[in-house]
């Protein structure tokens, strides 16, 4: 926008808004600061505690994420792409029984699922997320997973204005802690005279739809439809997972070797992958 880059002085910036959630915290830099507006970007940092899940969401602009610390699993939900990560076929299912119980231990039998490709995250990774593509992140490491993300709101892929917007597909993102526990730094007041103007906004898109319609669309009861809407939710946008997630994920090279040699281990290893590292 005209005049945004008439900069006389540049300062280092600290996060302005802080949103606490059950499983972690997201800090936003005020995108209304002149430098950010000039560059046409917004910046934020997610910190996911162990065993926490950043709920699926999409943004109006493309983003680049850098993994500052920790490890995790992530997925992009690309429209039209098939669910290429799938557990055993139906024929194998029939022959399960005792053998399966032996193989998968306490779980009795392996839960079958089919979903889109997932990836592993570790320190130093850059992840590119296109605009409008939903994504999720799960911390399956043994320390906090910290991600810093740049969203280019001025990118031509973003057809809305330059305010960053996140559309969540679950939960009640603004409910984590007391009203999101925003911390508005002095600078936000100084520039706008009202702390809230540059505040990021996000919510669960299912909430805007009629619960009865959702129940019909998903062919589930209304109670489940209300769960889609995140009613009575207070975990925020990063949630703690009770037991570790079972996500289908291919093994690392060493693990594959061991698998070939028949050194199988029980399903449900670290990060939900089938085989240990």
């Amino acid at each position: 926008q005209q005049g945004e880059c008439r900069i006389d002085r540049i300062e280092t910036r600290e996060p302005t808004y802080r949103f606490e959630a059950e499983g972690g915290v997201t800090e936003f830099w005020d995108h209304n600061e002149q430098e950010f507006r000039c560059a046409g970007v917004s910046f934020h940092r997610h910190t996911l505690r162990r065993n926490s899940l950043l709920l699926p969401y999409y943004t109006t602009a493309p983003s680049l994420v850098y993994v500052l610390q920790g490890r995790g699993t992530f997925g992009h939900l690309v429209p039209g792409c098939p669910e290429t990560y799938e557990s055993e076929s139906g024929s194998e299912r029939e022959g399960g029984g005792e053998q399966e119980r032996e193989r998968y231990g306490e779980m009795g039998r392996r839960f079958r699922d089919r979903h889109q490709k997932v990836g592993q995250l570790r320190k130093g990774d850059i992840v590119a997320s296109p605009a409008g593509i939903a994504r999720w992140v799960y911390n399956d490491g043994d320390e906090e997973l910290v991600l810093v993300a740049l969203e280019e709101t001025s990118n031509r892929a973003n057809q809305l204005d330059e305010n960053p917007r996140s559309f969540y597909l679950a939960g009640n993102p603004r409910s984590g802690g007391e009203g999101g526990q925003q911390r508005q730094r002095e600078s936000a007041f100084r520039h706008h005279g009202q702390g809230g103007r540059g505040q990021p906004e996000f919510g669960n898109v299912f909430r805007g739809f009629d619960a009865q319609w959702l129940s019909e669309i998903f062919q589930v009861d209304e109670e489940t439809a209300r769960k889609l809407q995140g009613e009575d939710e207070n975990r925020g946008h990063i949630i703690t997972v009770e037991r570790s997630l079972q996500v289908l994920s291919p093994p690392h090279r060493g693990e594959e070797e061991r698998y070939r040699r028949g050194e199988r281990r029980q399903y449900g290893g670290r990060g939900g992958s089938s085989w240990g590292n």
């Binding site: 939900l77 699922d113 805007g208 739809f209 019909e216 996500v247």
Partner: protein
């Protein structure tokens, strides 16, 4: 080669013919698109279009366009639509009728439903290859999530998560249970 690219470019495509439908469900309706692949000049224009027909009580799955605004003109019939913003607020929840225009901004989620009569519309999208992402159905975002992620996100048992993922076999034109019931009564 201007004359080879622009002067002789095909500029017309009929998307109203039922036999031309890209998505078709005899119970629910049909949907056709024209984009830069079917009409290459649209790449220059940065626009695309779609034509939708929903039979009585049928539903078009909740969806969002990942890369375009959508300007919907209702050509026939009556129905209802809901549009939701990033805060999860319904910015539109009301009846839609022939002759009306509904603007659905980029990334806002929308669901449409035909009322007693079938609902038809033409939509203009501000991208030459507008991409749709659905929230329910066989190719939906929910379907692409691991069942455990669905279970954790919505606080439901794994089996329920699996049901939620796979309840609808259709892509995005759904026959309504209400419609089915009224047909049975008739």
């Amino acid at each position: 080669g201007l004359e080879e690219t622009v002067c002789s470019a095909r500029v017309k495509e009929n998307i109203d013919r039922p036999s031309r439908a890209d998505v078709y469900n005899p119970e629910a309706g049909r949907y056709s698109t024209v984009n830069c692949f079917t009409l290459p000049i649209l790449r220059f224009l940065g626009l695309s279009a779609g034509k939708g027909v929903l039979h009585e009580n049928a539903i078009m799955a909740p969806h969002w366009y990942t890369n375009a605004h959508s300007i919907v003109y209702f050509t026939r019939g009556e129905g209802r639509a809901q549009v939701v913003n990033h805060r999860g607020e319904a910015v539109f929840d009301g009846d839609v009728n022939e002759g009306q225009v509904l603007v659905v901004p980029h990334n806002f989620a929308v669901v449409k439903r035909a009322a007693g009569r079938r609902l038809e519309w033409v939509e203009f999208n501000t991208n030459h290859d507008a991409m749709i992402n659905t929230l329910a159905g066989r190719t939906s975002a929910l379907r692409g999530l691991p069942a455990d992620v669905v279970a954790a996100a919505y606080q439901i048992p794994r089996e329920e998560a699996q049901r939620l993922k796979s309840s609808r076999r259709e892509t995005f034109l759904f026959q309504s249970d209400a419609g089915e019931r009224s047909r049975r009564i008739a």
